[in-house]
């Protein structure tokens, strides 16, 4: 089995278990990156706009992030109007940095893989 040799000793090489699913989900990745960029916190409306999400979608993702202690949410008054302020927690920042390290590994693996494997045959022919 020639292909067996090609991958020998590379068990789980592309498993990427460190890609924390709570953070990896596309919309949440945008939400968390926004909150990392604005560590003092962002009002719900601004976060919604930055991430291109609907009220319902953002609310749902914030619930997940709050339950995971990645984001904290506070109600406050700004110019006498109630405002929901969302902020990254210190634990959330730590988890995000760990996630980023794995994401950077994916990028490095991908760069090597893309270089190693230029497009060749276009169809699979049984041998």
């Amino acid at each position: 089995m020639k292909n067996r040799n090609a991958t020998a000793g590379r068990s789980h090489r592309f498993a990427y278990n460190g890609l924390d699913r709570v953070i990896h989900e596309r919309a949440r990745l945008g939400v968390i990156t926004s909150l990392i960029a604005y560590p003092k916190g962002l009002p719900f409306g601004d976060l919604k706009e930055l991430c291109g999400l609907t009220d319902g979608n953002l609310s749902r993702h914030l619930q997940v992030l709050q339950a995971a202690n990645i984001v904290e949410i506070a109600k406050r008054f700004e110019h006498n109007r109630p405002q929901t302020l969302c902020r990254i927690t210190s634990q959330g920042r730590k988890r995000y940095l760990e996630y980023l390290a794995v994401l950077e590994q994916v990028i490095r693996d991908a760069a090597v893989a893309v270089k190693a494997g230029p497009e060749r045959k276009r169809t699979l022919a049984p041998t």
Copy 2:
């Protein structure tokens, strides 16, 4: 509203719609990166081992990838034993490269964000 100013003109800045969900899912990201690294194709068993997936999980993800024309699957005989060979398609390779470009943007945004926002206060206090 001071925070309004901070994000003005940055609408959808962190939306990342280019993060193709078919590819972004953690297990599938590993599967596709493996197949990019082995453009001649990989037997099912080798792919399973590289990605640290169960038979059932890998089968399910391959179905999604095959339906999206990202992966092609062929049955063949290797040393008189039937073998399932999985390979990236040319369209799959193209989509993966497009996905990677967005992923690299996330990494760049994250690097700026992390630099901009060191950890400050640990709790949200209403103002």
